[in-house]
């Protein structure tokens, strides 16, 4: 069985290594500040006890006043997984891109930009992917009003 590592436990360990980065944690996931996303993600990928070399998915949720981007990391060797979240404010939705760590994020971050409007810095090809250039707006936002 793939063990879903509890968010609180990892958050406590990380709070020791990267102080001041954890915003929130709970049995299902933990949330980090957007500035420290890359160092935390790199640590999770490279540390041998975690070994999260496989990024299962990246997605974004619109919570009216902020956006939350959710990453699920899996380790195929150790067979465990963890959910990592980060937030960005609605009026300036910019986040660092994890494409340098996991190639999987390539199309998924482009899709989040296309449908939600969150820009990822460091992505080599930040363009719309499923909709066309010139499409007005970002459909998956809660305030998108139809056509």
């Amino acid at each position: 069985m793939t063990i879903a590592l509890p968010g609180k436990e990892i958050a406590d360990k990380l709070a020791g290594k990267f102080p001041g980065t954890i915003i929130d944690s709970n049995p299902g996931w933990f949330t980090v500040k957007s500035e420290s996303l890359i160092p935390v993600a790199t640590f999770l990928k490279e540390a041998p006890e975690y070994d999260f070399k496989y990024l299962t998915y990246v997605t974004a949720v619109d919570y009216f006043d902020h956006f939350e981007v959710v990453y699920q990391l899996t380790s195929l060797e150790c067979n465990h997984s963890v959910v990592l979240k980060t937030t960005c404010p609605r009026d300036n939705p910019v986040l660092p891109s994890v494409v340098g760590l996991w190639r999987t994020a390539d199309y998924q971050e482009r899709e989040i930009y296309d449908l939600m409007g969150i820009r990822f810095e460091g992505h080599p090809n930040m363009r719309r992917i499923v909709l066309w250039e010139g499409f007005p707006g970002h459909p998956l936002r809660k305030d998108f009003n139809g056509t």
Binding site: V99, R103, N125, R128, L131, W132, E133, G134, F135, P139
Partner: protein, 201 residues
């Protein structure tokens, strides 16, 4: 992992995307009303004229029994079309021997799948490249009215008749192969009533 190793492109992808996006927006703005179905074959003169000339009868017989469809396979209905063309529900016994990849060699477009605004200019271009006489069968609920996705109208065209004039509508989601064969048969009956004297506009 190295991302974005040197891209060797001879075109500018941003410019291409912008040009295509502008074309899509222009087509979307220009397709707010459905194109009326071609109905010259129902005209009064033809209805009264029950004896078509031999030439018309010959030509219509030849045309309706050798309709060659063009590849237009966006989505799920495509697979019902492929199984209709396969060995169990063979369409080649009705003369649709080969599914042509090139629209220049085809005369029937069976629109098998949901049409999105992004794909619409391409479908219109395929339709324009088909030589006359040509017919269109709108297959499936998505072809008729946008189907189950019609409420996501930001991306889905509500029916192929916004983009191309449609002759026969085959309902179903997806329509069974027997339903599609019935639709093709209805189209053949419609072609039988056409006349060289009145060409489609």
């Amino acid at each position: 992992m190295e991302v974005g190793s040197v891209r060797q492109r001879v075109y500018s992808d941003k410019e291409l995307d912008q040009a295509e996006g502008a074309a899509i927006e222009a087509l979307k703005a220009g397709s707010q009303q459905p194109i009326p179905d071609p109905d010259q074959w129902l005209e009064e003169e033809l209805k009264r004229n029950i004896l078509l000339t031999t030439v018309d009868a010959m030509i219509n017989w030849a045309r309706r029994n050798s309709l060659w469809p063009v590849v237009c396979f966006p989505a799920c209905c495509a697979f019902e079309f492929i199984t209709t063309a396969a060995s169990r529900f063979d369409i080649s016994r009705f003369g649709m021997e080969i599914i042509r990849a090139s629209p220049r060699q085809a005369d029937l477009m069976i629109t098998a799948g949901t049409l999105t605004w992004k794909m619409a200019p391409n479908v219109r271009r395929i339709y324009d490249q088909m030589p006359e006489p040509k017919w269109v069968i709108a297959m499936g609920a998505c072809g008729i009215s946008g189907g189950i996705f019609a409420s996501a109208s930001y991306a889905v065209v509500p029916g192929y008749n916004r983009i191309v004039p449609v002759d026969v509508y085959v309902p179903g989601c997806p329509p069974r192969p027997e339903a599609l064969l019935y639709g093709i048969r209805q189209l053949q009956k419609k072609i039988a009533k056409e006349s060289l004297a009145k060409r489609k506009a």
